[in-house]
Amino acid sequence: MLIIINGEERTVSHSLLRDILVELDYPLSGVAVELNGTILPMDTYESTQISAADRLEIVCFVGGG
């Protein structure tokens, strides 16, 4: 299905958030996820179902001042 990740269209074969993160090579720890504007607690990645056209924002820490 087609979803939007960080503003870009991506095709994914899974529907569970955890599986999508693994499919796209994101680390399961160290990323924060917003689903359609709602921030998800990290312990819900295993149970969150993603639907076609959902918008995901996936962020992590980087160096900064």
Partner: protein, 284 residues
């Protein structure tokens, strides 16, 4: 643990704690930096941007003996970002995410909330910037974001243009500290806003952390001598030829400035005041 020096120790009157601190001869390296009910072991905060590698960053953090490092939040790139910066930051050092990239209070609040999901504690550096040439913070939006995030339990460290009235508004909004800029971010131009920062030190009762623009250890020392509670340094360390050595230099400078502030500098005189006795000269 040494004598705790609280946020009121920048007042000109000598407190009992300070008197005990000096007379007791306690090593000033034990001087604790207190923010609200949290205590930190160092008055040097270090930014993690612009390092050549995470390994150099890690060694620099250790050399600086800092207790708080800032990090930024950005879109993750999947396999392109294989390394996690958190693997290179010692676990006992406090993380302070910043809201860089935010142009409005609303965006800063969103970034802060996402950062908190990552389990890094409650420290947040508010940074709201719309000016792209000098990267000057928008104090008004910063105050709005501070108000919202302080109510949500964050310990808010707002980066601001040094203005006394805005600093008072930040205090009223629940800020834990205020972080006036010394000069534009990354400019290494030094304490250009010295006079304005001095006013904040005198008039604001929460910790003052001089952030941005400090280019040399001597400038960090000067800020601390003035009575700033701490300084935040990134570019001056990261852009040095030897970040690790420069981090050590900043550690010593911040400590030296703090010790000088606690000791209180002697009065400035217009004419010479002899240091040696003016009697018993070897002459008739």
């Amino acid at each position: 643990m040494g004598e705790m020096i609280g946020i009121d120790d920048k007042q000109s009157n000598t407190t009992m704690k300070e008197t005990e601190y000096v007379i007791g001869g306690i090593d000033c390296s034990d001087d604790t930096f207190q923010v609200g009910n949290q205590c930190f072991s160092s008055r040097l905060l270090v930014g993690t941007g612009k390092f050549g590698s995470y390994q150099i960053m890690k060694e620099t953090i250790l050399a600086s003996r800092t207790d708080i490092v800032t990090v930024a939040l950005r879109r993750a790139g999947g396999s392109e970002h294989s390394e996690n910066i958190l693997d290179y930051i010692p676990k006992d050092i406090h993380l302070m995410p910043n809201t860089s990239g935010a142009r409005t209070a609303e965006e800063a609040v969103r970034i802060a909330r996402m950062a908190r999901v990552l389990g890094c504690g409650n420290l947040i550096k508010i940074e709201v910037i719309r000016d792209q040439r000098y990267l000057l913070p928008d104090n008004m939006e910063t105050i709005k974001a501070t108000d919202i995030l302080a109510k949500e339990g964050f310990s808010v460290f707002p980066y601001m243009s040094p203005d006394l009235m805005d600093a008072k508004r930040l205090v009223d909004a629940g800020a834990a500290t205020v972080m006036p800029l010394a000069a534009p971010i990354g400019s290494n131009r030094g304490l250009e806003t010295k006079g304005m920062i001095q006013m904040l030190i005198e008039e604001i009762d929460i910790p003052i952390i001089v952030d941005a623009g400090i280019g040399k250890p001597s400038e960090a020392a000067e800020a601390m001598e003035m009575g700033a509670d701490a300084v935040l340094v990134n570019t001056a360390i990261a852009s040095s030829d030897n970040p690790i050595l420069m981090a050590q230099a900043f550690h010593h400078a911040v400590l030296a400035g703090r010790q000088a502030f606690l000791a209180k500098c002697g009065a400035v005189q217009h004419v010479a005041q002899a240091s040696s006795p003016l009697t018993g000269f070897l002459r008739d």
